[in-house]
Each structure stands twice: as C-alpha cells, then as structure tokens.
Amino acid sequence: MKFTLKWLNQHLDTDADVATIARTLTMIGLEVEGIEDRARDLAPFTIGYVVEAVQHPNADKLRVCKVDTGKDIVQVVCGAPNARTGMKGVFAPVGSFIPGTKLDLKKGVIRGVDSNGMLCSMREIGLGQDHDGIIDLAADAPVGQSFAAYMGYDDPVMEIKLTPDRADCLGIHGVARDLAAAGLGTLKPFEQEPVAGTFDSPLQWQRKDVGDACPLAVGRYFRNVKNGPSPQWLQERLAAIGLRPISALVDITNYVTFDLGRPLHVFDADKVKGNPTMRMAQPGEKVLALDGFEYELQPGMVVIADDECVEAIGGIMGGEHSGVTAETRNVFLEAALFDAVNTARTGRKLGINSDARYRFERGVDPESADWGIEVGARLILELCGGEVSHVTRAGERPDWHRTIEFRPERVETLGGVVVPSERQKDILSKLGFGVNEATPARWKITPPSWRADVEGEADLVEEVLRINDYDNIPVVSMPKMSALPHPAITPQQRRVPIAKRLLATRGLLEAVTFSFMPSAIARLFQPKGSNAEPVMLANPISADLDAMRPSILGNLLLAASRNAARGFPDVGLFEVGPAYLDETEKGQILSATGIRVGLYRPRHWEGKPRDVDAFDAKADVLALLQTFGAPVDNLQILSEAPGHYHPGRSAALRLGPTILAQFGELHPSVLKACDIKSAAVGFEVFLDRLPMARSKGAARPLLNASLFQPLERDFAFLVDAAVSADKLTRAARSADKALITEAKVFDLFQGGTLPDGKKSIAFSVTIQPRERTLTDQEIEALSAKIVAAVNKATGGELRK
C-alpha cells in the first residue's frame, strides 16, 4: 500500500516529518517497507538566477558566473557551454553533497578565480544521465525556492506492508486515523454527506439468491458526464503510487479505492440492458474482464449481470463490455458489499489479483457502500459534470454493532505495562471505538464498523499497547521455574546430537537434505508391503521433489553424485533425520543414515588404496549401537536387508522382531539410478527403535576384573562356505559361557588346496580364569568342548 506525504496530509493535520511518521507507522503495526524521498536527496538544491556570465580570464571553456541565490550573489566558475547571463538554473552551495560525483562540494579556486558553489546538470543532482549542460529552467522559476518543490518532487512516497487483519488501513484515511491516535496530529474527517439527486435512476439494483455473498448493492445513475482525462493533481497522485491514469471516471474509482479503502465501479449505462442484477454465476458463463482476459465462471461466484450478459465479477473486476470510454455519456456507479471469504475464493479460482479483491477479501467497512456512493458522486459531478440520480439500493447493510467487555487492568496483566485508564480511553476513542466505562474495572467497548478484526479483549489490549508503543513495555527476564534448570531434552532426544557428533568423529560429513526426493528414486527405497507407494505430494514444487523420502539414502547418494560431478568422487556423508514410510505419525521414522562412496583409504605412500566395503558400514553401525548401549552381542545379524541393498552383501541387525539397523553395499540398480560410478555402501540405524537403557540410576555395576591373566587359544575349522563366521564363534563361546569371554575371527581362507564349497575360518578364543589358574588338563578339556560345540553347530572339522 503506497501513498504520498501530501496525500496523507489531506487526512492528517500534522507537522511531523517523514522520519517520525515512518517510525511511528512501523511501531504501530503498519510496517514501512520503503520511502522514496526525492525531496530529501534534493534538499540542498535551489533555483538560482545567473545575473552575469563572463569569459574566464585564464580558460577558454570556463565562464565566471554571478548567481543570485535568493539570499545573496555568489561567484561560481562554470564549464557548461549553455551557461549564460539571464538564465535560471539549479544552484548548489558549498557543502552540498552532489549525488552525481558522490562528493561534498568544496569552495575552490579554479585557474585563479574563486568558485563558491555550482550550477548543476541533471546527472550531477542524480536525476538521470543528462550532462550536456546545466539545467535550464523556465524564466518564471522562483529564485531561491527549493528545486524539488518547484518540480513537484517534494512529496515523499511511502510504502507500507499491511498485515491481513488491517483492512481499515487499505485506505489512506485509515492510516491517518492510526497516526492521529498515536499522537501525530489530528484526523480530518472526510466529506460523506449525501449528494442530492435530481431524478430516479433508470437502472435499479436487483439481488437474486446472493444472500450473504453480496448483502448490499448501492448505485447512482449519472447523465451527460464527460469522461476526459482527469485533472493534473489526480493524475499525479495515482502516478506517484504506481497507478496509470486512464480517464476521469476510472481514476475516480481508483482514487476512492486508495483514499478511503472503498472500491467502486462505473458501468457505461448505455451498454447495460435492463436492471443490473447481483446474482450467482451460471456454470460455463464467461466474461471478458477489464484486464483483457476472458474468464469462465463457476457456481458460487457473484456476478453483476444485466438482461444479456455478465457485466462484472462481483468484488473483483469489471467487464470490458460495459467499461467506460472517452465517448461514455451516461454511467452507473456501483458501491456494494461482497463477502470476504467468497471474494477470496472467487479471486483465487480465477487467478485475478485486483485492488478490489484485495480489499473485499480482507473486509471492507460495511458502512462504506452508503458513504462511498456519495463520495463517488461528488467527485464525478465535480470532475465530469452532468447530473446524478437518487440512490438505488438493494439488500441490507449487515449489522456490525457488537460490544466487547474489557478490563483495563488486562493491559497490565497481559500486556505487562501500566497505562492509565484515561490514556486507554483516549487511545480507543481516537481509533473510533465506543467506550462505555460501565464500571471502572469493566468497560463496554463498541468497535467501529471498519474494525471487523477486533473480536475480544485481547484485541483491545493490543490496540492500547501498540498505540502506546511496545517500547514502553518494561522488559522482564523469565522467572526461574527451579533453582537449576532441568534437562531440556529427554534421553531419547539426546540420541540425535550424540549420533551426529559420533558419526562426524568417524569421518563423515553431516548433510541436511530435503525431505522430498524424485518419486522414481523413492520407489527404489519404498519398503515392500501394504503401502508400496511412496508418500506423494499433491502439489510438488517440481517434478524431482514430488515424493517424501522413504529413506535418506537416496538423497545422500544423489548428493554424492553431485559431488563427484564437481570432481570429488570420494564422499562420506550422513544425515540424522526423518524418513516417511506412510503419511501417519508412526510412518515417520528417525534414521541415522550414512553413505561411504569411492575410496575408503586414499592413495598413500605407505599402503595401497582401498575401496569402501560393507565392513566400513558395519563399523559405523556398531559404533552407533554400542554408544547407545544396544546389546550388540545379542543381536541377530541376518542377511535380509531390504531391496535397495545388494542382496548378498548386506545385512540387517535385529533385536527380537525389531530391525534396529541395516547396512551393506547398495544395489547396483540403485547406484545406477543415482548415477554413482564407484563403490558405495550405506547404513541406516533406526534411533527410535533402539531400546532405552533401563533406568537404574547413574551407578555402574562393580568392576569384576579377574586376578588371573587371560589366555588365548587359536582354532581353525574347515566348514561349508555357506556357514557364517558368527555361527562358529557363537558356538565356541557357548562351550563355556563362564570362562570364555570372547571368540574373534582372525583368518578366513577359501580356494587353494581346500575342497570346493569349503572354507577355513580361524578364530582365537579368550579364556578368562576367575578363581584360579587353569591346569593344562583343564585347558585341554575346554578346547575339546569348543571343538565339539563348533562341530555340532556347523559340521566344521578342526584343521590340524
């Protein structure tokens, strides 16, 4: 919403300067977005009269001018070819900031002659590129006057950003009212007295089944108007706020829209056949609107129609058919009320943004149809001549009167500031509220017709607070709830920062990627099952962000591919965040997900480079699980990871029926889809599924360190190739759970002289005596038990 200072001053009697007005507007909720103040920039420049211009004694191209500044006569050395005796130009005194040179003007001596100012070109004062000569003003330009004022540039244009509740400030009068309440001058009432009509309108308003969508239509007929260009003052005002002047009648409606927040429309009455009617659009009806586009209307939209066609879209835009032209002689002026929600819906469906829609969808003053028709009539008669009919009116003005109970003490108890009752009453009254001090503690407040946004006591507190200035609310730090704060996050929530920091210490960079991904990629990660389709968006921002990610892996792989394209193929990334299996709350899972792509160990002088492999991912997974106290030894490692992993080189870690984590090489088709050309592994750890440590307080169990040295025994078994290493070591440990603390694989061999389909696995068993040193016989017996247990569990033969 834009306006000029002069326009504002038409409604507000104030001597406040632009800066004060701007600060006040911003503080009271009408945020100033910009001020275009050419007067400020041009302040030093005045109109000067060149009393005499003579040749410089020491320079061919320079002249020595005596300039009458209105205050005194000043000598100026000037290089412009058009400087001449008797001209009027733009004078800048010493000390002025010259926008064109970005320098402060200094007193100078030019080739031996004093120069005490400057005659300026357009470019020098920052108004364009013209630098062929100094500005040459008309002979009647008043010497000594501000150049900006002379040019009409001294009217700063302010733009405010209005919040959707402040429909009352969509007219400049409303802005002035707020400023007056805030102490910046006095609000000037505007003329709304009825204009006497001289005949009955040949067009009479009709309403047909529009109900509350258009509760009231008011109109007047004008005979013998002349629709020429509007006067200069009106054109300048509209131009200053960015509106193109069109014709007097159109300019009047635009002017009232911005001046008072009251949209009006004029029809060329000679083109309206039969009575204008407010009715609902018929399916398929079309109208060519004033913006030059044809719109197909739908039921539920209010239109203004005559006997033949739709002439306007109610509250939104007029139609081309009955639009006014230079030839228009008789017009019908419309001022109606349209429902906010219905107007918004219609405008959105048709995709029309107009000044009328903008106002109606925020709520136009219900009184304004009646006074608006008078304001419009007065301007039409004044600017276009002719005569006006009596008012035609259909429907009822909705009753906007309501009373809100208000306790002035709430300004202190809710607003945190003491504002004396008298001051509160003054603020509310100046804003147009009716104040009835029923009792000192409970007032009855009647909001004005233009403040539909004020619904309750809290709104009234806000009115008082904002006009009183939020700066005046004393600052109070939050009182403590307890002497020391409790933890801000739960143990469950704490897993997230711990997981992030752990993975980062393991060499992975944390990425944050969108929750969306291309649906083609999402399908590769969507778990098979009841809901095999990814969660799709109805209105994605682009085709490649159309699905919610069922796994973070895809986004990380796409990121790795982008990094590879930039020349960085070796990437380790992780993200701890949500993935979406379906649209329910439970379908959103929290996953610590990572990928390693390319070389795990880069080329180095000492050793060979190595590609990432599934065991790198396994190490990441185990580090996370161990950190969170998951019972790593009791987990089942199953080769049943979902389809986005390589079927033979991936695994899931399960606790009972719950999958805690999955990892491994990624499926070649996934890598292809994500354009990954090197080795790639990934992991997903589902943080919410990890069991919480049972709370037994902070104390640890006592350390049970044996007095006796542990001993190690190595075993090598020949087993079927399909037997997992885990099966062997579990069997070995089961031989004596008290004595055996660990069984670690240290060698794996296949091929060579070994029979086909067999492999050799060697592991060492750690035996920890607890009560005494074991005898050789006891160790032998234990070894035999281990061999027997492994043989029983796996069919493996001890290699001798």
Partner: protein, 359 residues
C-alpha cells in the same frame, strides 16, 4: 701379593682398550670368571696365614671391585656408543604425510539447534517435537486460521493427495506451531517448550527453499505477560549472537495465533555495504511473536480465562546465516562437501552456556 698393583694396571688397561661388548665380556671372564686370573688368586688365599689372608683378601677384593667397576663403566660407554651408532642409522622423513584420517563436520543447522537448546534450556524450556506430516486442524484450524482466511494465503502449503472420505488433505507442516498445539493438548500448564524442526512451504527462489527449519517457543501459565516475552527474547538474541548490548525492537504485527502480536527486530549497521549486527541505525527483522490467542488456548482445551502466555518463532537457517556469515540459503541443502567442510563444525565443539556457545 706385591704384584697386585701391576695386575690391576694390566687389566684396567685391557678393559679400557676393549672395543666391543663381546671383547669386554671375554676380559671379564679371563679376569673374574670361574677360571679367571683374579679368581685364581682368590683361591690361593686358603694357603696363607690368617694375618696374611686378611691382608691379601682385602687387597684382592679391592682389585675385584675395581675391575668390576671398570668393566661396568666400559660396558655403559660401549652401549652408549652402540646406541649412538644405531641412532645415526635410524631416520624417518617426517615430512611424509601421516596416514590419512578423514575428519567429519557437523552441519550448521545442527550446531545452531544445539546452541538454541542450550540457551532456552537455561531458561527452563524443554524440547518438544512432532511429525512433519500434519493434519489440517493442527497446522491451521487450531491456530485460529480458518479455511479461506487470507492468512492461509500467507503460507504456501504443500498438500498430500486427499484420501477418499477425508475431510481435509494432510499437509506438510508450514511451521512448527502444530507441535505447540500437540503440547497444549497433552500437557497441563505451566508449559515452557521450544519446538525445533523441519518446516515446508511451496516457495523456491534466491531466499526461499521449499524446506527449512524453524524453532518456535511456547510459554503458558497464569502470569506470563508481554514484558516476559520481551525479556525472554532479548535475553535469547543477545546470548545467541554474543552481543551484550544488541539493540532489540518489538513492534506491532499480526499473526492469527497470537494477540497481541509483535515482530522482533535486532539492530544492525549496513553503512559499510556489509551487514554488521549491533549498534547502528538499521533494523533487521528476525522473529515473530505474541501472546497466545485465547481461541488457540481454548482450541487446545486450556481455559483462556485462567491461563495466558506467549509464543514465538524464527528461522534457524536465517539466524545461522546471520551469525556465521553464510551468504546463500540454498547451499544449506546441497551437501557440497567443500561447503560442509568450510561452514561445518568440529564434532567436539558442543555448545553450552557454561563452556561457551561458540569458539
């Protein structure tokens, strides 16, 4: 035993002349071994008279001690020599690179969230969370944003396809306010929570991404008023930006879910062509806030005649960009590893109010 002096000199000279440890060992055996010369002399003591034996024994013991000492000294010298010799041959070119270790980094969003939690945690706030896919009621209606209200047009919402039989389609939450709603529906006042999380708006240009992060806060009790709102947020921004005298301005605004409402600006200076936070003549909008609308409280089953409080919300990327001088929002989500290494944080830099928020 008159010749012991010559004997001593002979052996001492031999020991001093020993050039290697094995040679020294041979000398030791020849002199002091079982069949050594000195040992041999010791054996002759038995044939002497007690007086002679006493005198000769003493002399022999002295000789033995002297030789032993000399051998040990020579041995130490030879060992030193050998070690020095070895050390001369043992060199490493330590300009060679160490074995490579990759150091990871934390994303600025994570670090900023941890900072925010550290500060608000000090003020007694707890972290509340909720799902990203929300129903229309919690994202809009409960927050006093009815259907077709112009305020809904303030936010460009992502919708999921409407399911048959569903009155309203599910949405991607446009703010973390639904978490406030969930908190109020499930907890009794007093409430102090902050809600950090992912939020979504259908907007993408230089300064908008379709996903971003917000943190919102909510306080509900019987006495909290707008002065507390100011105090809480002033304390926060000054701690977060580490500027004790950072100017903070509250000005009237509108949000459907708060009444009265305030936008919060912090002071800055743009005069150098560069944005500098702190004292200056310019202001920078940084967050929205207000007293919780009585209708919102009532929508969540909290009696608005008894309880009141405030709420606020701000963009996490935005305050991270301001604090850490990150110029472009869109780069946050690109996972460019050069960016992650440059703007990321060392994992051991855990922000806290006692240890410091920022290094």
């Amino acid at each position: 035993m008159q010749h012991l002096g010559g004997l001593k000199d002979k052996w001492l000279a031999a020991i001093a002349g020993a050039g290697a440890l094995d040679q020294l060992e041979s000398l030791r055996v020849e002199a002091l071994g079982k069949k050594g010369e000195v040992t041999g002399l010791m054996k002759t003591l038995g044939s002497l008279t007690p007086e002679e034996r006493k005198e000769a024994g003493q002399s022999l013991n002295q000789l033995k001690d002297a030789l032993t000492e000399a051998i040990e000294a020579r041995k130490a010298a030879l060992q030193d020599q050998a070690l020095n010799q070895r050390l001369k041959s043992e060199t490493l070119d330590l300009t060679l690179p160490a074995r490579p270790e990759v150091e990871g980094r934390l994303h600025p969003i994570s670090q900023t969230i941890d900072e925010i939690i550290a500060i608000f945690g000090e003020m007694g706030f707890e972290v509340a969370e909720g799902p990203d896919i929300e129903d229309d009621f919690k994202n809009f209606t409960a927050l006093n944003i009815p259907p077709d209200h112009p305020a809904r047009q303030m936010q460009d919402t992502f919708y999921l396809p409407k399911r048959p039989g569903e009155a309203e389609a599910m949405v991607l939450r446009t703010h973390t306010s639904p978490v406030q709603i969930r908190t109020m529906m499930s907890k009794k006042p007093p409430i102090r929570v902050i809600c950090p999380g992912r939020t979504y708006r259908s907007d993408s240009d230089m300064t908008h991404t379709p996903m971003f992060h917000q943190v919102e806060g909510l306080v509900v009790d019987e006495t909290t008023h707008m002065g507390h709102l100011k105090g809480c947020l002033i304390d926060f921004v000054r701690a977060y930006f580490g500027i004790d005298d950072l100017p903070v301005r509250f000005r009237n605004s509108f949000f459907p879910f708060t009444e009265p409402s305030a936008e919060v600006d912090i002071g800055c200076d743009r005069s150098g062509g560069e944005l500098k936070l702190g004292q200056g003549k310019d202001w920078l909008e940084i967050l929205g806030s207000g007293m919780v609308h009585p209708k919102v409280l009532a929508n969540c089953g909290i009696d608005p005649t008894k309880y009141q409080g405030f709420a606020f919300g701000m963009g996490i990327e935005r305050i991270a960009m301001l604090k850490y001088g990150i110029p472009d929002l869109r780069t946050f989500f690109d996972a460019d590893l050069r960016w992650l290494k440059h703007y990321g944080f060392v994992p051991l830099d855990v922000p806290s109010m006692t240890g410091g928020l920022t290094r």
